[in-house]
């Protein structure tokens, strides 16, 4: 089975062409450019696939998959086939996530026109977290505010966590297995799963909250934002940019490096060592928090782009710790997001 997976992001749409699990071709569309030039996603797709044809790049596929971070409360399963009913539901989500959902709707429309009759599926990351308990998802803010803005905590790497859960579920005969799933992506995330339900997650109502990322701040004292506003007279947009693009590991080492670089570059400078310690400390704190609300842990699974760093990190943080015991199993999930998505699709057919 051949598939085309689209990953719509803020400024780009990445697309991956796969033959089953084998990645054949990868490319990217700049949404900034298409908006500037044509304001028509269909014509961009048309040009790209004409180019493929001309250059004999094989991109004949059986189905189209569109990756969506946000599922709202409308979708409780992580994969759905697009039809008119689903489109109506998606339109309802425009209010909560206007930029992303609008782009997805445009993409669906363009794909329907360009690849007539090919089945289109949408894959949601946050659907996994739709049943987070209210006491985990709530913030202690004025109840009246909740009518005006979205104030619910959710997770953003649901597909990886779901796979980690399936891995543990296949292996363990125990009921009520307690899992801490650590997704080591550019914006890492930890979730606590008990009895196949997530009850704890580090991300917030946006991915800004949580563990520090390669460039995002993660958890922050709200008083710091107030201080920055007061002292620098910066507005929300500038602070947003600071916290999403200039913070995290980048903010600490003052270099554009990935988590992989941080661990593998063997840089012994004080900034690198401190950044590693801060990152690992935050992971340990969150593992403790997850164990605190689950009354223990049976499995810890590392997944995501940098899943392999989990070996080093767990060696550093779990040594001589409460988690250092024979009953705890640590696993590493090497699957890529593409593979997980294709597996989801196959499971749907089976």
């Amino acid at each position: 089975m051949k598939s085309m997976i689209f990953y719509p992001k803020k400024l780009t749409i990445e697309y991956h062409y796969l033959d089953n699990n084998n990645l054949i071709y990868i490319n990217m569309i700049s949404t900034k450019n298409y908006r500037k030039k044509t304001n028509n996603l269909y014509s961009i797709l048309d040009q790209i696939f004409e180019y493929h044809k001309k250059n004999k790049i094989e991109t004949v596929f059986d189905n189209i998959l569109i990756h969506s971070i946000y599922s709202g409360k409308e979708f409780n399963t992580s994969i759905v086939k697009i039809n008119n009913f689903i489109l109506r539901k998606l339109k309802k989500m425009l209010y909560d996530s206007p930029i992303q959902i609008n782009l997805i709707l445009e993409l669906i429309k363009a794909c329907q026109k360009k690849f007539n009759k090919k089945p289109i599926y949408i894959i949601f990351e946050t659907a996994f977290f739709n049943y987070l308990p209210v006491y985990e998802s709530s913030y202690a803010l004025d109840v009246n505010l909740k009518n005006n803005i979205s104030l619910t905590r959710t997770g953003y790497n649901g597909l990886f966590h779901e796979q980690a859960m399936d891995l543990v579920d296949n292996e363990s005969s125990k009921s009520n297995v307690k899992l801490i799933s650590i997704c080591l992506n550019k914006n890492p995330e930890i979730t606590g799963v008990i009895n196949k339900k997530p009850i704890f997650v580090t991300s917030g109502s946006t991915p800004m909250e949580g563990l520090p990322g390669e460039r995002r701040s993660g958890r922050l004292d709200p008083g710091i934002i107030i201080k920055i506003c007061q002292e620098y007279k910066w507005g929300p947009e500038k602070i947003n940019d600071l916290l999403l693009n200039e913070s995290g590991i980048f903010g600490l080492v003052n270099k554009n490096i990935s988590l992989k670089d941080l661990y593998e570059k063997n840089d012994k400078s004080r900034d690198y060592e401190l950044a590693k310690k801060i990152f690992e400390y935050q992971i340990l704190l969150e593992c403790g928090a997850a164990a605190g609300v689950m009354n223990g842990v049976d499995y810890i699974v590392f997944s995501g782009l940098y899943y392999y760093l989990g070996k080093l990190i767990s060696k550093h943080i779990f040594k001589n710790s409460l988690f250092h015991n024979n009953n705890l199993k640590i696993k590493y999930l090497s699957k890529k997001l593409d593979e997980i998505i294709i597996e989801k699709l196959n499971n749907r057919f089976n």
Binding site: G223, I224, K227, G292, G296, L322
Partner: protein, 399 residues
């Protein structure tokens, strides 16, 4: 030696006269509604000889309040104070231990004003008033943040650009240090474990502010409050941890009126925000003890946050000797202690329900015999801790 301890709030001034080393309280009181006129008149509640007296007095500032308090003390037929001891909520990076007031100290103290804009300016005003009115009485300052100066760098750093952290002196300072240190020392005595060997989580759960402190080898290694008291647990009117993006959204919605957002997060959030009715968590307690899943969402969310931090702090302080409950809620509400300690067997924590319900004396061990971790309830006494600090500073100076 008699030490008059001052605990200065933005519009209040608590005082307590303690004789040291006997550790005997002679009198105490509180000046309330200092500053601009409010719906009720300013007053001083004075306690002496088991009697409480309410004295109405106009107090336009803390200097004024100090003069009135001094008058009342002079009329109480007690020995004059030998030392003034002050509680300062924030010492920034300047003060990591108690200090005797001199000109240099005052100058450095001025630099901490912006770190605690509500508490430090009136405290400085009071210190200056003391110097002016009683120039011969030495003054000693005890800082809440000092106990947390041992928090390691990796725990006190935020992951925003270092340049900004350095410029704005942003780091995790931690709060309630005087209380945490007091109960830690009491626990060390009670458990007969040397302070340098004590690992603990101290839960200072007040009816207003609240924080947990992770203690390793008798030293603070983390505190739920951070750069400001806003971070961490859900408090009476403070929000605790929230997504930074929410603060930015609120700023956008309010046309960037920072003071309004500051007020919203500090005064209208927390338990008050969740319930929409009351800022006191005791008003959300059920009529009878029920299990966690049946509780109202206000209490669930409040307890859940504490359990998360408790799990984190037990993990980083592992292996721990004790969990300590203190301050109003921690000392007086057994049901909240029960909910917090429930389902914590993984950490070796098990509460004895009967002991928990029947606190007869402080400190009290309320852990089950099956519990590997001692659960203690200890009555905090920040003023006594300040007096002890003042005494040891003076003793150190004399020896």
């Amino acid at each position: 030696m008699n030490i008059l301890i001052f605990n200065c709030g933005s519009s209040s001034l608590k005082y307590r006269l303690i004789s040291i080393p006997e550790e005997k309280e002679i009198l105490s009181g509180e000046a309330q509604r200092i500053g601009p006129k409010t719906s009720e008149p300013a007053r001083i509640i004075h306690r002496y000889n088991d009697k409480e007296e309410k004295i109405t007095a106009e107090m336009k500032d803390h200097k004024n309040a100090f003069e009135k308090i001094l008058n009342i003390i002079n009329n109480s037929n007690v020995p004059e104070p030998d030392i003034f001891g002050h509680r300062l909520v924030h010492g920034g990076d300047f003060f990591r231990k108690p200090v005797i007031v001199n000109k240099e100290v005052i100058n450095e103290l001025m630099l901490t004003k912006s770190l605690a804009p509500i508490h430090n300016p009136p405290a400085i005003e009071l210190i200056e008033a003391c110097s002016l009115i009683c120039p011969k009485v030495p003054q000693i300052l005890v800082f809440d943040t000092a106990f947390h100066s041992t928090i390691p760098e990796y725990a006190s750093y935020y992951t925003i650009p270092k340049k900004i952290q350095d410029q704005l002196k942003i780091k995790k300072y931690g709060f309630h240090g005087t209380s945490h240190f007091y109960v830690i020392k009491e626990a060390s005595k009670y458990l007969d474990i040397q302070l340098k060997n004590l690992n603990a989580v101290s839960c200072h759960i007040g009816s207003g502010g609240a924080s947990l402190c992770a203690v390793k080898n008798g030293k603070s290694i983390d505190n739920t409050m951070g750069f400001s008291p806003l971070q961490g647990l859900i408090m009476s009117t403070r929000c605790g941890d929230i997504d930074p993006a929410i603060v930015l959204k609120l700023l956008t919605m309010n046309n960037c009126k920072v003071n309004d957002i500051d007020k919203l997060l500090n005064k209208k959030s927390g338990v008050l925000g969740l319930s929409g009715k009351s800022a006191d968590i005791r008003d959300s307690l059920p009529a009878k003890n029920i299990n966690f899943e049946q509780l109202n969402s206000v209490l669930q969310t409040y307890i859940w946050r504490i359990k998360k931090y408790l799990g984190s702090y037990i993990t980083i302080s592992w292996p721990i000797n004790t969990i300590i409950f203190t301050d109003t809620i921690g000392e007086e509400v057994p049901y909240i202690r029960k909910l917090i300690c429930e389902n914590m067997e993984f950490f070796g924590v098990k509460l004895d329900d009967e002991l928990n319900e029947n606190i007869k004396t402080f400190p009290m061990d309320i852990s089950s015999i099956k519990s590997k971790v001692k659960i203690l309830v200890i009555k905090t006494n920040e003023e006594l801790e300040i007096a002890r600090n003042c005494y040891s500073v003076l003793k150190g100076k004399r020896s």
